[in-house]
């Protein structure tokens, strides 16, 4: 789980956040509230999760509880991979 979170943080940082104006975010911060991800960003995140972790994200799973923070995404991916 810790490794997974590190990977996910790296992905978000590499793809959505930029050096000097970087938004510091904790594992529980909402991507949406901090404007790290918008609707397009979430779609990109979902594609990344599907490709990287071999999971399929269903429409009804596209909710903030599964996607809107590092903690949520890590728990969601773990759950999906275990299922």
């Amino acid at each position: 789980m810790a490794d997974l979170k590190t990977e996910l943080r790296q992905y978000v940082q590499d793809n959505f956040i930029m050096g000097a104006v970087a938004t510091a975010f904790s594992d529980s911060d909402s991507f949406m509230e901090l404007h790290i991800l918008d609707s397009t960003g979430f779609l990109e995140l979902i594609s990344y999760l599907e490709e990287t972790y071999g999971i399929a994200v269903k429409d009804e799973e596209m909710v903030p509880e599964n996607l809107d923070s590092l903690n949520s995404v890590a728990a969601f991916v773990t759950r999906k991979r275990g299922a």
Binding site: D14, N15, M18, V21, M32, H35, D38, T40, D59, V63
Partner: protein
């Protein structure tokens, strides 16, 4: 009659009714009115007076509704700014309007911190979620005022709002709207839409832009209930909300409808309470029109067209949708539209030309931009009046039905928002290693148009597509960042050496 008078009358008439639902919050008209009064009193105490500009950097929230009405109460001018706005652009807007106050949120501090420091005209910054006052920063919620601020003494020719829109030069332009302009647009829209005080309006659009903003103004003026569902990022959540709250009116844009209609479990939600569904900003595709009609057989679906400079220009009566699905209608009541050729000569229908709009909803001009204003507002048929030259090319048939053809400039429409290629290019030029760049819009099924950037690099420089996109995300509103970046050895040029975008795809 001023823009906020209807809201104040509603607060007296139905104080206990729910005005705004946002997340877990449900706020009555009485409560909203009280909060607006407290905020107005605080701004007044800091010296905000009639005509002063107050910038709103807020999410779609109860606070947004409070802020608009507090500012109007003082006779001041509200300037709604997208919460996606980054520091430099916000600083530009605060400086351009010489804003006296900013109303914002602690969560948006990365955007406003430096911008506020760079804005000498600013006397107070009211911050939702701030624990305690510090320098010019004041906490929000605001303590109830000992005495209310004096009511506005302005008249309907005074400015009510300045709303920024993208300009071809890359510098945003502030559209100046008077109380009269906005009330006039309101009346023309209400004449066909017929919102009622028992309506529940589901707003997933940002109220910082004209389309969403008028739902806040009109909804609260009429006495309806507004359900604010801040993000379109989670379409399932949005549809759940529409069903739960028995939403009756839903305004959307093609990107939003596309996300909703793609849901595999859409039929499991009861959306039967929807009676009005509207689309604007870009045309819906025929399949989407049909899907919406099949999903909501009892709802009236309106295709509409407008621009910030006058709010609304045309709507297609729902009964015409089957017959002429690609038309945006024939205009509005209390407004005249016609087409002109390149020499400005009025054309008889049928014709193709630039659309011109005449009506009391047309803006006063662009804030302190006389050259841009003169290009858009030109003398009308009556002495002393101005008409709006939209820059949009339309085709009309013999009966005057309007069909959108394209822009006369290179403005891109992505997710229904205007994107000025120059603004994106300016951001890309700021990257170390970039020699040249050109930005265009390319067709995109989900976004309408996607922003694409062509970049050439200085010798020895290396840069990836993602680095360019990330850089843009840090400086521009998210929807302006390129979706695709292509690196070229050279950009096509005209004989005079200017970059020739026509050769790019």
């Amino acid at each position: 009659m001023l823009l906020h008078h209807a809201f104040e009358a509603t607060c007296t008439r139905v104080p206990a009714r729910t005005a705004v639902v946002c997340g877990d919050e449900r706020v009555s008209y009485a409560e909203l009115s009280k909060q607006a009064e407290s905020l107005a009193a605080l701004l007044h105490a800091h010296g905000v007076v009639r005509g002063d500009r107050v910038v709103l950097l807020l999410e779609s929230s109860v606070e947004f509704a409070v802020a608009v009405h507090a500012v109007l109460k003082l006779g001041a001018v509200f300037v709604p700014v997208s919460p996606l706005t980054k520091t430099d652009k916000l600083a530009y807007m605060l400086g351009d309007t010489r804003a006296r106050a900013l109303l914002t949120d602690a969560r948006l501090e990365p955007a406003w911190r430096d911008a506020v420091a760079r804005s000498p005209a600013l006397v107070v910054n009211v911050v939702r979620g701030l624990a305690q006052a510090q320098d010019a920063n004041q906490p929000w919620p605001v303590a109830p005022a000992a005495s209310p601020a004096p009511a506005a003494c302005c008249i309907d020719q005074d400015l009510a709002a300045i709303i920024y829109t993208s300009g071809t030069t890359g510098e945003p332009k502030g559209v100046m709207l008077t109380h009269r302009n906005m009330l006039s647009a309101w009346a023309s829209v209400q004449a066909y839409l017929g919102l009622r005080d028992d309506d529940v309006i589901g707003l997933a659009l940002s109220p910082s832009f004209s389309y969403g903003l008028y739902h806040v103004l009109m909804g609260l003026g009429i006495g309806a209930t507004l359900v604010l569902e801040g993000s379109a990022a989670f379409p399932v959540r949005l549809v759940e909300r529409l069903a739960q709250e028995r939403v009756t009116v839903f305004p959307g844009v093609p990107t939003l409808y596309s996300a909703i209609l793609a849901l595999s479990n859409l039929s499991s939600f009861d959306l039967s309470s929807l009676r009005i569904v509207t689309n604007a900003a870009a045309a819906l595709s025929d399949p989407h029109v049909q899907q919406i009609q099949a999903l909501l057989p009892n709802a009236r679906l309106y295709s509409m067209y407008g621009m910030t400079e006058c709010k609304r220009i045309s709507y297609l009566p729902p009964e015409q949708l089957t017959q002429r699905p690609s038309s945006v209608g024939r205009g509005l009541v209390n407004q005249e539209v016609w087409l002109v050729d390149e020499a400005g000569q009025r054309l008889a229908n049928p014709a193709t030309g630039e659309l011109v709009v005449r009506g009391s909803h047309v803006m006063r001009g662009y804030w302190e931009k006389p050259a841009e204003t003169a290009r858009s507002l030109k003398p009308g048929p009556l002495a002393g009046e101005s008409v709006l030259h939209t820059g949009d090319i339309f085709r009309t048939d013999a009966e005057g039905w309007l069909y959108f053809v394209g822009r006369s400039d290179d403005i891109i429409k992505s997710r229904g928002e205007k994107v000025a290629p120059r603004e994106v290019e300016n951001a890309i030029y700021a990257i170390e290693g970039v020699l040249d760049c050109a930005v265009i819009g390319i067709p995109d099924e989900r976004l309408g148009q996607a922003v694409k950037a062509f970049v050439t690099l200085k010798p020895g420089a290396t840069l990836t597509e993602r680095e360019v996109i990330r850089h843009c995300l840090a400086r521009l509103e998210n929807y302006m960042a390129p979706k695709i970046v292509e690196f070229l050895a050279d950009l096509p040029r005209t004989d005079s050496g200017k970059i020739r975008k026509l050769g790019l795809r």
